[in-house]
Symmetry: C2
Subunit: 66 residues, 2 copies
């Protein structure tokens, strides 16, 4: 699964730590999601999408490998 966190953060000009605080997870959780080291739960995905004001599908995209 791909993600656009880096781009969306850049658009909103917020850091990984900022995003982590907004959705109440650790900074490492954001970092590892952003760098594709693990897949977030649907709750986290919904919260992240909400922060960026976009649908989940615009931020997380399935790949053939999924």
């Amino acid at each position: 699964m791909k993600n656009n966190l880096r781009i969306e953060r850049a658009i909103k000009n917020i850091t990984q730590a900022d995003l982590a605080e907004l959705i109440k997870v650790s900074r490492q959780t954001i970092n590892t999601i952003e760098s594709n080291r693990y897949v977030p739960s649907a709750v986290l995905a919904l919260k992240i999408a909400k922060v960026f004001g976009k649908p989940v599908e615009e931020i997380f995209e399935l790949e053939d490998s999924d």
Copy 2:
């Protein structure tokens, strides 16, 4: 997090086992997601939404408790 799996399955007229096979998980996984006993991964949520042809947000909804 709430979900509309039961309704969406009814609309498409498919069983839990059918849905499970479509997205390659066990039937129990579908059952436990549907009965809110656990939260699926973002990959599963995306796949389920894709099966029903609707955005993730229309199938899984954040609650105040999330």
